[in-house]
Symmetry: C2
Subunit: 454 residues, 2 copies
């Protein structure tokens, strides 16, 4: 028999990491290297057709890692690796993060080279957080950044998540919904996630429900009897024939057959929605809405909207849930200072700007983003600083993580403030202007020169 499933809880946080983080931790411990380091979480390239990413998960992750401990069971697991000294493992029992974290608010549009989170603290602690912080922030940022494209394409119509079945595992299906909420997704089919994150839990029926009834009309009537105001799936056999059946049921039963919507799930959704709308309206069913699903992505949604298809809401699954065109972001977590000295690396294509940083966002008088400037942490500008303290001395600050409604409305305001070309589904060559301050450039030049003299 195979091993049982491994359910993961907060007690496992210290094992949710790459082995090398722990190897380096022991090396720092063994050599007594305890000076402060700053690491910066950012990405280098915009993936797919994105012209902005929606930073999500960074405050949630920061809050979580303040709970990272090594309980006895975790220590026992680690001892199985064989590389760790007993004295180190005893020291690990008292491990907790004692440093500081700054981060952008969740729902902030973010661009290449901009830190969305920075951690400062004793080198060993700050290094250890790398893998888990990246995993948590990567998931939410990738999914939120895809979701916002769907929301923009739908131009005000609700977009509902149906993707759980093909998301990458259970955690993605749970915490992806947190990212969707920030990005403006209107609901989810996923029961646990919707209940936990306060997003409406929506659901209709599957084709199988129709199939097990000998007659489609009987299936429709039974479902509407149990769930007045429900949504009926019409494409099991023939979408328009099913609409005619619904009209006939309405004629036959009147108020005893009350539905809220139909769902089209295949075929030419523009043509079918037009004809279905016509038939529903002709029967006086003006209030019955049309819901569309079936392999939708932001491009298909945008073309249905452009074609003025009378679709009231969209259900999206796999393209959203896997961020199909750009399933990853080249998020990195890089050391930029240690012991007060700026640090860099020179690997081809992977150069680092040294120093703890701040990001300033400059806006036009009407609030539209004009450009950003990445500066050293202690530089001042007459603009909005995006990195804000959220963890101090290992303790989350009370105001650090906004409630759900705040994050979603903040994100909406920010997205609405982007230069319009950046919001396009096919943005062409549009690029946001991110400037690197003179002081950052100078620090890199002096650090590079120091390195060459070593």
């Amino acid at each position: 028999m195979t091993e049982p499933r491994r359910w993961v809880t907060a007690a496992d946080l210290g094992l949710l990491t790459d082995r090398y983080e722990l190897s380096m931790l022991q090396a720092y411990w063994a050599s007594g290297m305890r000076a402060n380091a700053t690491f910066s979480l950012y990405f280098r390239k915009m993936p797919g057709a994105r012209r902005f990413m929606l930073a999500c998960g960074q405050r949630y992750a920061a809050q979580l890692i303040t709970q990272l401990r090594y309980p006895k069971a975790a220590i026992d697991e680690l001892s199985r690796l064989g590389d760790f000294q007993d004295a180190f493992l005893r020291w690990l029992e008292d491990f907790r993060f004692t440093g500081d974290i700054l981060a952008m608010p969740e729902g902030t549009p973010v661009f290449p080279q901009e830190p969305l989170l920075e951690v400062t603290g004793p080198i060993a602690e700050v290094q250890l957080l790398e893998t888990i912080l990246m995993n948590l922030v990567h998931l939410e940022t990738v999914l939120a950044s895809k979701a916002v494209r769907m929301v923009i394409a739908a131009a005000g119509r609700p977009v509902v998540d149906f993707g759980m079945r093909r998301m990458h595992g259970i955690d993605a299906a749970v915490h992806g919904v947190r990212a969707y909420r920030t990005a403006g997704i209107a609901g989810t089919s996923h029961v646990l996630a919707g209940l936990h994150f306060g997003l409406p839990v929506s659901g209709t029926m599957a084709h199988s429900y129709i199939q097990v009834h000998d007659d489609e009309s009987a299936a429709f009537k039974a479902y509407a009897d149990l769930y007045p105001g429900t949504t009926l799936l019409v494409d099991t056999y023939d979408s328009l024939a099913a609409v005619d059946r619904i009209v006939a049921l309405h004629r036959g039963f009147g108020k005893a057959f009350e539905i809220g919507a139909i769902r089209l799930d295949s075929g030419d959704l523009a043509a079918l929605s037009l004809e279905a709308r016509k038939r529903l309206d002709a029967a006086g069913l003006h209030d019955v809405r049309i819901f569309a699903s079936g392999g939708l992505d932001e491009h298909k949604i945008a073309s249905l909207v452009a074609a003025k298809a009378p679709i009231d809401a969209f259900g999206v699954g796999t393209a959203l849930g896997t961020s199909a065109d750009a399933p990853s972001l080249d998020l990195v977590y890089k050391l930029t200072t240690y012991d007060g000295i700026p640090r860099l690396k020179n690997s081809p294509g992977k150069q680092i700007y040294p120093g703890a940083k701040q990001v300033f966002r400059f806006r036009s008088p009407t609030g539209v983003y004009e450009f950003d400037e990445v500066t050293l942490r202690d530089e001042r500008r007459d603009a909005e600083p995006l990195l804000v303290p959220i963890v101090s001395g290992g303790t989350p600050l009370p105001s650090a993580t906004p409630d759900a409604a705040t994050a979603a409305s903040y994100a909406k305001t920010q997205i609405d403030s982007l230069p319009p070309p950046l919001r396009a589904i096919d943005p062409g060559g549009a690029q946001y202007d991110v400037r690197i301050s003179r002081a950052v450039h100078d620090l890199r030049a002096s650090a590079t020169s120091r390195l060459q003299h070593c």
Copy 2:
């Protein structure tokens, strides 16, 4: 403040679902529909450049869903949705799956239209399993099918997983490693997953470890002192200069500086590995292996192998961990019979072959796959039947889930038995021959005809 993180355990299994599964469950309960149904888990199209998928997770998932229950806390959660009657929720407290499951062995190459798992039981129970079964099997099958491409490309050299940081959440990073193990991945950097699934947990050092030392040689020496036989990362500043430093340390310290490998992580890996090998060999360091990583995928691995780059092992991250070129599979779970009557649907592009099925694999006398035939369950062929009972009356059969070593060696044998063109990284037009039996075609024709006379 935001809600705390939602750690998920076995007690949550009944909530890890789409709402419509529960709505249909109540509808079946309310109408007394309790006849048996068969659902089939399969996919319609091969994604990306795949010419086979490696079926993984289906037996693990089947075993897990026999534990699906609705404890009091889950019932309380569900009652918040408002749609469920008290009597139904009380009935749900006693829910358990009582049906039968057949599945292919994990690690079986599988092709479009072939059920990799079939469930038979009372309609309400069997419907309920849809979302969670799909989520679990989709994850492992997608990741294993990508992993096997990396393993094939590496042509016998070990491939190690470094991808945790950019996989989609924690569950993917844990259970993905289970799929990797079946697919022949040699190790993982992920501590918890490697320990749990018995895959070697590997790790070296990050650039930051080099950066915090004022001198690269000092960093190398300190790490090798603590971890004799370790792997040193050489590309922080200049890969070949770092190799020269290693050679100098070897000359200076002899046996007091013992390393096992170097890791190249950027630049022209073919050229760098050749030159590094030359310099290591010239210094007598023939046993120091060369490990390569940095944005690798199966194509880059294959071209390094073709160029005869002296690389001994490959580390792969994001391309593997997100199955970057094909992050999803159009896996579906479809009703094919209910109450003894074959069922189908006619949605454009989504037709179903009705009836419970079996898959037979025909092989040449030397064991190479020749073709498969999808038949009705009770048809007989002189060939290997791939669907085997693994759950009976809701109870997992003892022999159903093989141990780790068995699954990995079974998968290797199966992959080695594929027609060679299907194993190519760029398979061109190669396609495996999957036949649908005459009896299945006839059943579809008669079911379609019955439908048209309704």
